[in-house]
């Protein structure tokens, strides 16, 4: 093998991934800041006032990205869990563990901003809209994952049990979404039209940029958290004890 090829698999070891993650984190924070500034500028200063919803619609610039991220992070978390379970790779499981709180936070923000959007638009803080209800259930799935991992002492058992929860949840998310959607339409809930009819291009761009911002933020946070998790779980190893910040 030529010297110029990188053996990517060496980064499957926590020892090698720790410094790599450390170098990646500032890059993602910078990207998050860039996209955030661009997105907020588009959202507040370029996108026009909505004909029906006035200025209140601008909440979509955080609500939709948070929702997208909460679902995306769940899928990524489930993927890392699956890899950790099938290949018996503990770093993959650590990554899933690192992603869960951020995903749960995104789900919470989606619910919060959804409620704050609902109040002026539909008159109540909570509506049993199909998407909000599915989001609530997704939030519970995150909490279940985190609670299960927190209550199992042995980290490897916690990893594998969490993987099963994440995978069963991942299979169920589409089922839950469609059943809730069916339930919602049957019960003739408030017919919500989330301003999707003809979205101005600027609004769409604002949403996309904010979504990218939150995505970069989530990656940065997850990498930071996984570094902490690596230290916590690899506390007995030689390389951790030799770290500059730790050395006696």
């Amino acid at each position: 093998m030529s010297n110029r090829l990188i053996n990517w698999f060496r980064f499957a070891s926590p020892h090698n991934f720790y410094p790599l993650a450390g170098k990646m984190i500032p890059v993602f924070w910078a990207l998050a800041a860039l996209f955030g500034i661009a997105g907020l500028w588009m959202g507040f200063f370029v996108a026009p006032t909505d004909a029906q919803q006035g200025e209140g619609y601008r909440i979509i610039f955080v609500h939709v990205p948070a929702s997208w991220l909460s679902m995306f992070i769940y899928m990524v978390m489930a993927t890392w869990s699956a890899i950790g379970l099938s290949l018996n790779a503990r770093l993959s499981s650590m990554m899933a563990q690192a992603l869960a709180p951020t995903g749960a936070l995104m789900a919470f923000l989606s619910l919060w901003t959804g409620a704050f959007w609902g109040k002026p638009m539909w008159g109540t803080w909570w509506v049993w809209d199909a998407r909000l209800t599915s989001e609530l259930i997704l939030f519970f799935l995150y909490l279940g994952f985190m609670a299960l991992q927190a209550s199992i002492d042995d980290p490897r058992r916690a990893d594998k049990a969490g993987a099963i929860v994440a995978l069963v949840g991942a299979v169920n998310v589409p089922i839950i979404y469609f059943s809730v959607k069916w339930w919602n339409t049957l019960h003739q809930g408030s017919s919500v039209n989330l301003a999707k009819s003809s979205m101005a291009v600027t609004m769409l761009w604002g949403m996309l940029l904010m979504a990218l911002c939150m995505w970069m933020y989530s990656v940065a946070i997850a990498l930071t958290r996984v570094r902490t998790i690596i230290l916590e779980r690899e506390a007995h190893t030689e390389w951790v004890l030799q770290l500059d910040e730790v050395k006696a």
Binding site: I137, F140, L141, L143, G144, A147, L148, S151, I152, R156, R157, K160, A161, I164, V165, L167, V168, G169, V171, N172, I175, I176, S179, V180, W182, W183, L186
Partner: protein, 221 residues
């Protein structure tokens, strides 16, 4: 087939020796369904409206109460490990245990539900749909619940954690199960709901035992 039947027979035998466990879950179902009218008011039209939902939620909760029992006793005395290392595939034994759990926890609910439905002033055809829906739904609950029971085996705070894990996964069954009865009452016909419930049951019959077996092996490591 016979290992499955052997396990079912064994579990039923063990339950017969301690009937109180079964009966308490059943009485829980009865009491909880009685609580709702007491809390909301006796007006018949309102009760008829909430009946499917109330009965289904109570069935969910009653099933959940019994889930811990599925593997806990066998895990405590080492039988589960024997099952894991036996030549019979663990999946078949798990299917047997889930079957036994349903016979003990789910089937009584199905049989008692019509009586409770009368409390809510449901008419005969609605009661029929309710029974069919519960007949399809309670095995589904046992199957999904078994995954949670296996995952939380021997874990601190197991009962509450089990609820948190399993209740979100029960929601589609709840939506279509209660929805079937409501659709029937409102004249739309329960066919669609019952078909979807049956489809979910078919999926769960194939996939849940595998997930449960994987979770059991993790718990037994």
């Amino acid at each position: 087939m016979s290992p499955i039947l052997a396990i079912v027979r064994r579990d039923l035998l063990m339950v017969m020796r301690r009937k109180s466990e079964v009966l308490t879950a059943l009485f829980f179902f009865v009491i909880v369904t009685s609580l709702f009218p007491l809390g909301i008011g006796p007006e018949p039209t309102l009760l008829r409206k909430i009946a499917p939902g109330v009965l289904w939620v109570a069935a969910l909760l009653a099933t959940m109460l019994g889930l811990q029992r599925m593997f806990a006793a066998d895990h405590a005395d080492g039988t589960l490990e024997q099952m894991a290392i036996s030549p019979t595939p663990l999946v078949m034994l798990v299917v047997g245990k889930i079957g036994a759990h349903w016979l003990v926890s789910g089937l009584p609910l199905v049989l008692v539900a019509p009586v409770l439905g009368i409390q809510f002033d449901l008419d005969a055809s609605a009661l029929g749909v309710l029974v069919v829906a519960l007949l399809l739904g309670t095995p589904l609950l046992s199957l999904i619940g078994s995954i949670g029971a296996a995952l939380t085996l021997g874990v601190r705070g197991g009962g509450v954690l089990l609820s948190l894990l399993v209740l979100p996964l029960f929601i589609p069954a709840l939506i279509f199960g209660a929805g079937a009865v409501e659709a029937h009452i409102s004249g739309l016909g329960a066919g669609g709901h019952l078909s979807l419930l049956a489809a979910m049951l078919a999926l769960a019959v194939f996939f849940a035992p595998w997930a449960t077996t994987a979770a059991l092996r993790i718990a037994l490591e």
